[in-house]
């Protein structure tokens, strides 16, 4: 069958032109040439610019190649050879999801096309076509197309605005670029997470992470307002505590009569001020997860003080914690989206952060790694000492605080450690050895150091130094340590088979000494530090999406 030649475009004002400011462009597809001509005449008279073809496969090919279209609406016959109306509509909507479509059916075909509503058709019309019904249905389709296009345009502009607002704003601190890694995965087109970095006149560096409640334009505007407020006052050399107090006051003024739950505006923020000499960092958190600061000896410190989110209490004091640094100190800060994501999957925050920061330049991969997150995710790692001062940057992977009664949970704890390390590095060959050493040392700390007491605690800190490929585990309890000479014992264990004669004595220590690459006992064994050096080829493989399990 020969395709009907396109009807030349004609500008004719009619009832349908009021829907758009120009003549609507309508695609008509029908293998019945008589119907095709009839539709052309009706639509042209109604002021439409019509493109008509009798061969659905040809329409599909031309549309997919961009040789025809875009159209404001399509009128498609259901029953056509080679490609029925629903199939054609699906193909056209794959290219232009906003375009409304109308299916023309014989009366007895209606049940066949009911599903087309789910495919995006506006309506269907039974043949023989009546003028008024056709024009009314087309008017609806045009309106729907226009509404969809408008919505898409708004979404795209929101996305652009959001992208622009979340670009790392390294105001006047370009030299930080090599020391700063930031990964941001928004859940929606727009949200309230942000990161700003400023340098003061005295060379102090102020790093601000913020998280405004909500994922809408309102939260984005408040986020931008807060960001501008901060920048203006920091440039005026105002004290950070005073700035936060002032903003808190401002938020409370905005909603003076509403309680906490009713207050629409609240901001969670973490403000880290690194002094110019890079000897210490002050951390202020307001309803914000505690950032982690690492040290060369494997410690991970978190700020001791925490403040309520800004906007909750009008008279809130703002307190911070100052932490002294060593040559390897790194700061990891993140919004609660990462915290929730890790908790839901029973993995440690630092390990997730390590993996996403390794892929900070690849937004698609980042989005895949934290697929199904219920919130925006923002994480940033700042090397706290400049290159000439810094030894080896140390990334925090996990910090666990375990009560002395947790021995019964040892399998679960070991599994969390394994899963977290697997996430950070992939399934590396020495993982079972690391896992075994962690298990042995944790059991020793819970049993002997904490004596199984719920009021005593063991901490497990795991860090990774990329330059050395060194995985460092530090396990500490608040017990008195061993009552025997550890050094003499270690020397003795190297040379004898004591455990064959006396099973159970210090086997954990033997395993630790001989399995790890470096092992150090402090405070009579109440603090145990051990290292594993991982092969470079084992680092940063893409782990795939992190499934919710655990």
């Amino acid at each position: 069958m020969n395709p009907a030649p396109p009807v030349p475009a004609r500008q004719v004002r009619g009832s349908l032109t009021s829907t758009l400011e120009r003549a609507p462009k309508v695609l008509v597809v029908d293998d019945d040439l008589l119907t095709l001509r009839l539709l052309e005449i009706i639509l042209v008279q109604a002021g439409c610019e019509v493109y008509s073809l009798a061969d659905p496969l040809q329409v599909r090919e031309k549309f997919e190649k961009g040789e025809i279209g875009p159209f404001d609406c399509a009128t498609i016959d259901y029953s056509m050879p080679g490609c029925n109306g629903i199939e054609l509509m699906r193909a056209l909507n794959a290219v232009d999801p906003c375009m409304g479509a109308i299916l023309l059916t014989a009366v007895d075909e209606r049940h066949l096309v009911r599903d087309s509503f789910r495919e995006g058709a506006v309506d269907f019309i039974a043949k023989p076509v009546r003028n008024q019904e056709l024009l009314e249905t087309i008017r609806k389709a045009l309106e729907r197309t226009r509404a969809r296009r408008k919505r898409l345009e708004t979404q795209l502009s929101l996305k652009d605005a959001s992208r622009a607002s979340h670009v790392f704003r390294n105001f006047g601190v370009p030299e930080l670029e090599s020391r700063l890694a930031t990964a941001y995965v928004p859940r929606d087109e727009i949200g309230g997470d942000f990161l700003d970095v400023f340098r003061r006149a005295n060379d102090d560096i102020v790093c601000v992470l913020g998280d405004v409640a909500g994922h809408d334009l309102r939260s984005a505007l408040l986020s931008a307002f807060f960001s501008g407020f901060l920048e203006g006052l920091i440039r005026q050399e105002a004290d950070v505590h005073a700035i936060l107090r002032a903003f808190n006051h401002r938020l409370n003024l905005a909603t003076p009569t509403e309680g906490i739950l009713g207050a629409p505006d609240s901001v969670a923020a973490g403000v880290m001020t690194l002094d110019a000499s890079e000897q210490s960092v002050e951390i202020i958190t307001c309803g914000f997860p505690p950032p982690m600061v690492t040290f060369a000896d494997g410690r991970i410190e978190e700020p001791e003080t925490a403040n309520a989110p800004l906007g909750w209490f009008s008279d809130a004091e703002i307190e911070g914690t100052r932490i002294s640094l060593d040559g390897a100190s790194c700061l990891l800060a993140f919004t609660d989206g990462l915290q929730d994501f890790a908790a839901e999957r029973n993995i440690e925050i630092g390990a997730v952060a390590y993996q996403i920061l390794a892929h900070e330049q690849n937004p698609e991969l980042l989005a895949e790694i934290v697929r199904d997150s219920s919130d925006d995710i923002l994480a940033t790692r700042l090397q706290l000492q400049s290159a000439e001062k810094a030894g080896h940057r140390v990334h925090p992977l996990m910090k666990l605080t375990l009560p002395g009664t947790d021995e019964s949970r040892i399998d679960e704890i070991e599994s969390t450690i394994q899963r977290s390390l697997e996430l950070a590095f992939g399934s590396f060959q020495r993982l079972p050895e690391v896992s075994l050493c962690c298990r042995e040392t944790i059991l020793n700390a819970l049993r002997h150091g904490c004596a199984g007491d719920s009021g005593r605690f063991a901490t497990v800190e795991v860090t990774f130094c990329e330059v050395q490929s060194r995985l460092r585990v530090r396990i500490e309890d608040d017990g008195p340590g061993h009552d025997f000479d550890l050094e003499a014992r270690k020397e003795h264990l190297e040379t004898c088979d004591e455990h064959f004669d006396d099973p159970g004595r210090h086997l954990g220590l033997v395993l630790l000494e001989r399995t790890s690459d470096y092992c150090e006992l402090q405070r009579k064994g109440a603090t145990v530090i051990f290292d594993f050096f991982l092969g470079q080829d084992e680092l940063n493989p893409f782990p795939g999406a992190i499934d919710p399990r655990g």
Binding site: R439, L507, L511
Partner: protein
């Protein structure tokens, strides 16, 4: 826990099958299973000369698991038995080497995926 230990009357080999984990949380059950088997009439009557530790399903052994193995080394020493261990996991092999068990038994290390977990 029935781990499926065997004894061969033909060549006097006693084979103990171990599960995927021999750790603080599983060792009592494993010990009970082994003890029951060693106390059985079949073992007493067979007078085995070789003890085989089948660790081919085993993925993790901790210090409490090792204690059980040491006890079995002593048990077999008392009966002048030879010992042999079958291992597939590198990490398990490393643990056995690290506590010098290679001096106490023939370690047969054939790397590969763990066979179906016993028990």
């Amino acid at each position: 826990m029935d781990l499926g230990h065997t004894i061969s009357s033909h060549d006097q080999v006693l084979t103990l099958l171990f599960p995927d984990r021999i750790t603080s949380t599983t060792v009592s059950e494993v010990r009970e299973s082994v003890q029951k088997f060693l106390d059985s009439r079949a073992v007493r009557e067979a007078e085995p000369t070789v003890l085989t530790f089948d660790f081919r399903s085993t993925q993790a052994i901790d210090s409490l698991g090792l204690n059980l193995i040491f006890e079995l080394v002593k048990w077999s020493d008392a009966r002048a038995m030879k010992r042999k261990a079958l291992v597939r996991q590198r990490s398990v092999h490393m643990v056995l080497l690290n506590v010098r068990l290679d001096k106490k038994m023939e370690l047969v290390f054939e790397p590969g995926p763990a066979v179906g977990s016993a028990g």
